[in-house]
């Protein structure tokens, strides 16, 4: 471009080089080429276009990679477990399960019916079947031996929590009282599985540890 302006602005030099007509004629073909050049001006940024395309691809790839990385950071096994991270749900399930265990494992010689009712409310699935099998004996024992059992949850912790299911570790104390005898206390460690059904956490499985 500079060359051309130089040539145009200094025709004297061209005249000086009158003999160099051929270069001139060479330049006149260059004229049309020049107009082509304007086209080429459009086409000339072919490498910028390629660069632009490459940059675009690179940007897209970077964005995608960063986004994927971000998702990976968020969706870890740690974040899938809502224990404590969802404070409200954690408190709720801990409270519901602690209450439930206290109710189903507490009974007096005359109050087994209450316990049975409670079990139907707070247990479900396998836990309810297990409990029903167990409670036949318990009912008899309680009546025959005038036995009172009181269960307290000492500590309960959520090991795993999702939207509708939870696993808990529960430490509890059980106090047995027979009429006329001193009370005995036994400690137990349970692993409890609970499911959220109709807005209430129900125990579906109880295992001793």
């Amino acid at each position: 471009m500079n060359e051309r302006t130089a040539l145009e602005s200094k025709p004297v030099e061209d005249e000086d080089r009158a003999d160099d007509a051929e270069p001139d004629s060479q330049e006149s073909p260059e004229g049309p080429e020049g107009t082509d050049g304007t086209d080429e001006h459009g086409r000339r940024p072919r490498w910028p276009r390629i660069l632009g395309a490459l940059l675009t691809v690179a940007l897209l790839a970077t964005g995608g990679a960063l986004f994927a990385e971000g998702q990976q950071l968020r969706d870890t096994p740690a974040t899938a477990n809502l224990a404590l991270t969802d404070a409200e749900a954690t408190t709720r399930v801990t409270g519901d399960v602690s209450n439930a265990l206290g109710r189903i494992f507490s009974y007096g010689p005359d109050a087994t019916a209450l316990t049975k009712d409670a079990a139907r409310q707070v247990l479900a699935g396998k836990a309810l079947q297990q409990y029903a099998a167990l409670f036949g004996q318990v009912e008899k024992q309680a009546a025959d031996q005038k036995l009172t059992l009181t269960t307290h949850v000492v500590r309960a912790g959520v090991t795993r929590l999702t939207g509708s299911s939870a696993h808990l570790l529960v430490f509890l104390d059980q106090v047995y009282e027979r009429r006329g005898r001193p009370a005995t206390t036994a400690s137990a460690q349970l692993s409890v599985t609970a499911e959220l059904r109709d807005g209430q956490w129900r125990i579906v499985e109880i295992g001793s540890i």
Binding site: G52, Q71, A78, T159
Partner: protein
């Protein structure tokens, strides 16, 4: 003219649009990545899992002791603890070591289950409950196996979570 032609070229418009979209995607991706690494919930969940892992390991260490490798065992006790508990262990180390040497006991522990009961990430404090089976073998007689349930308090240190308090979960204390 040529320039006007270029801008009107639908291909160029599309290319430009694509480039803008790409730049936006990169920006969004970068922001998302940044946001994710500063995600409080994710960091809290990670802290919880770290505290539990450290807590279970520390409780296991504290219930493991072999009179034949006493120094190593007591070192691991000290490494697992911080604060008051650590100080107590250091102060009582010699007297305790004598007892163990005399009794020639070998204690091993297996963690059965554990849970974090509370976590204050800012204060660097966590509460853990751990159920474990402890086997104590003395030179005479059968090894004694007992289930143990422990409550511990963890404090975050530069070297990770360490026990600052540890005790058996009380039995019968809540009974009316």
């Amino acid at each position: 003219m040529a320039r006007a032609g270029t801008t009107r070229n639908p291909l160029v418009i599309a290319a430009t649009a694509l480039a803008v979209v790409a730049a936006a995607a990169a920006g969004w991706g970068g922001w998302d990545r940044y946001d994710a690494s500063h995600d409080d919930a994710a960091s809290y969940a990670q802290a919880r899992d770290d505290a539990l892992a450290a807590g279970e390991q520390a409780v296991q260490n504290m219930n493991t002791l072999d009179h034949r490798t006493l120094e190593k065992g007591l070192d691991s006790w000290e490494e697992s603890t911080t604060g008051d508990l650590h100080r107590q262990l250091v102060e009582g180390r010699d007297a305790f070591a004598e007892q163990i040497v005399a009794a020639k006991t070998v204690s091993t522990a297996k963690v059965l289950s554990g849970a974090v009961t509370e976590l204050d990430e800012r204060a660097g404090r966590a509460g853990v409950m751990v159920a474990l089976r402890v086997t104590v073998a003395a030179p005479k007689g059968e090894p004694a196996v007992k289930e143990s349930r422990m409550l511990g308090t963890l404090t975050r240190t530069a070297e990770g979570w360490k026990l600052s308090a540890l005790g058996q979960a009380p039995v019968g204390s809540t009974a009316g």
